[in-house]
């Protein structure tokens, strides 16, 4: 009996100890679980914090491209719109045509955009603007700062995407640098039939990216449409544009209207020279079976352009002398054919007649007409081939054949100038 009692006592003690140990183990496991839970919660908090940082960083977008090129002109010192005049004594050159970096902070409804251009020629600001979209209909955007003028198609078509190395002479003359300083309203309906249309209209300084020089403000606007026919893989886009502005005539200087082959009219009393353009643009895109898609684009502009006695380009600073007013017209047509995924062939023809009231030998014939180099018409036929190496790199081969109006009465323009230019360009875009 004693043995049994002793046995039961020992058994009970061992069992109790085991239970006690088990309790301790369970407690330890529970404690460990709690620790793991805490650690997981900590990790989750850390993840959410990191996610917040990553989400914020994702709003910063950096893009850019570099265009390095070799060019060869017919003669030394050729005047050119294919990236600027060749220096005296040179007909070949290497250069970085554009070296762009664009910083964009995209906060969905608001945007900060800064684009700079860095080349061997120096540093320049291209874009510096804020963009604000109203949150209710998400249809109206307000832009403020320096950005592309809302006129036509070619101005806003990025140089990194454009097939021809340069914009048409027409646009380079009327809108040097493409950009201007001002405010713009964009209307882009999101749904319904109105989403096929868009309106851009703004008020600008009128001096390009340079500082304001007068109180005159210029209106620029474009009403555009975009009709996609997805079943047919056809798209027809286009628009009409208007520019209504003025250039201040300096005190003591005249507005000289050069619209006659015999006599220019000068007016010392006029203080504002009319700068007005109207234009239309059309783009057609169609996917050709087997070959690939093609685009056919055209643009036409006419109007009144203030300039100098020897130049018809827009002012980028306050005029210093007499302001010459000319009626002009210009257009371009461009055909781009994709062949497979990598090749594009293009044909471009552009024309710019800076003075439609005179032609040929009339220029320089009568001194009183005050006609000269700034009244010469140019046409350019461009042929090119683009090879897309990958999504970043493309090679461009392009040949500009430039023809100018001739006048036996204007020295230097009695015959067609030797100013054709071959361009080989490599572009890297990211």
């Amino acid at each position: 009996m004693k043995k049994l009692f002793l046995f039961l006592l020992i058994f009970t003690l061992i069992t109790l100890k085991t239970f006690a140990q088990q309790d301790t183990t369970v407690a330890k496991v529970a404690e460990k679980l709690e620790e793991v839970k805490d650690a997981l919660e900590g990790l989750n908090e850390s993840y959410l914090e990191t996610k917040g940082i990553v989400d914020a960083l994702k709003k910063i977008k950096i893009s850019g491209y570099i265009q390095a090129q070799y060019q060869s002109a017919d003669i030394d010192g050729a005047a050119s719109f294919a990236g600027g005049n060749f220096s005296a004594g040179m007909h070949q050159r290497f250069g970085v045509r554009r070296g762009r970096v664009k910083f964009n902070y995209d906060n969905d409804l608001t945007q900060y955009v800064l684009q700079i251009d860095v080349t061997e020629k120096g540093f320049a600001t291209k874009d510096a603007y804020v963009q604000f979209r109203e949150p209710w209909m998400k249809t109206f955007d307000l832009w403020a700062g320096v950005f592309n003028r809302p006129f036509g198609f070619e101005i806003e078509y990025s140089s990194s995407s454009r097939e021809s190395p340069e914009r048409s002479r027409l646009f380079q003359s009327l809108f040097p640098g493409e950009r201007d300083l001002g405010f713009k309203l964009e209307v882009r309906p999101q749904d319904g039939p109105l989403s096929l249309f868009n309106l851009k209209a703004g008020v600008f300084a009128g001096n390009g990216v340079n500082a304001e020089t007068d109180n005159n403000k210029d209106f620029i606007g474009r009403l555009g449409f975009s009709f996609p026919f997805t079943e047919e893989n056809l798209a027809i886009d286009g628009g009409i544009s208007a520019y209504v502005g003025n250039v201040s005539v300096p005190a003591g200087k005249s507005l000289v209207t050069v619209n006659s082959p015999t006599l220019a009219t000068s007016d010392l009393t006029v203080r504002d020279a009319e700068r007005s353009y109207i234009g239309g643009d059309l783009q057609l895109y169609y996917d050709l079976p087997v070959l690939g898609g093609f685009s056919l684009r055209g643009e036409y502009i006419s109007g009144k352009q203030p300039g100098t006695s020897s130049g018809n380009g827009s002012y980028t600073a306050a005029p210093a002398g007499d302001v010459y007013l000319r009626n002009f017209t210009g257009y371009y047509l461009m055909y781009v054919q994709n062949v497979g995924d990598f090749n594009q062939f293009l044909l471009k023809y552009d024309s710019y007649d800076p003075n439609t009231d005179v032609a040929g030998d009339q220029i320089g014939q009568v001194a009183a007409a005050k006609l000269g180099v700034g009244d010469i018409k140019y046409t350019t036929l461009g042929l090119g081939w683009i090879y897309h190496w990958d999504s970043n790199i493309k090679f461009v081969f392009y040949y500009d054949m430039v023809s100018n109006e001739t006048s036996k009465n204007l020295a230097g323009f009695t015959e067609n100038l030797k100013d054709n230019v071959f361009t080989f360009r490599i572009q890297y875009k990211f």
Partner: protein, 274 residues
Amino acid sequence: MKKLFLIMITAMIAFGFFMPGKVITVKGSDTMVILAQRWAEKYMAEHPGITVQVTGGGSGTGIAALINGTTDICNSSRPMKPSEREKLKIRYASLGVEIKSAKDGLSVYLNDANTIHELSIEQIKNIYTGKTTNWKDVGGKDSKIIVYGRENSSGTYVYFKDNVLGGEDYTSSMQSLPGTAAVVNAVAKDKNAIGFGGAAYAKGIKFAGVKKDANSKAYLPTAENVKSGDYPISRFLYMYTKSRPTGELKDYIDWILSAEGQAVVTQVGYFPVK
């Protein structure tokens, strides 16, 4: 100089046109990746000379690859946006070719232990926009709702946002996961979780019946309900090519749309378009 121009053009054309041939590459929607792999496996077995390479990454990634020229076919669980078509237009003068390859009922996943069995579109919207944060507010237990979703490169993310959330933003507490399979796994492990994705991935969890509104009948994402249109969140699954497909690419797409290709759609768990 004209000679130089002609010589360089000729040389580069020769180089450009005599690049070695390539396989058919398919990239895009994670929702469609298993379906695309099954199509590729079966097609390659029947056509030994053809290689079809399939990768996921999300519809947005696939469309970007199509625009960049790094894929022949883009799989997308949402229609291409006008801005994406615009990019294709600029680069290829084409709006892209859209091919509806299958239909999917976008499912709402719940953990098996969840007492909730059905939700209205409004309730789902409130959960995913953060207005509803506790299961008791939709008839369940008093527990915080753990919200899982997809990353913003996903077509499912975009489709759900546009068609269920009415364009509103997702709640900031939503945990974005890389792939529908990851969402399913997360919901399977968490009794308070909710997720969404394609029906084909739904293993180890249950589907919520979805009601158009509070007074409507709830429907599960079954073949009948998706085909009949009763299930409120159904969508097409698309393939896109840059331009009209030709040659081997056309043969492959034609096969996918054939009875044989559409049979694969059913096997994987989606719904055929023909």
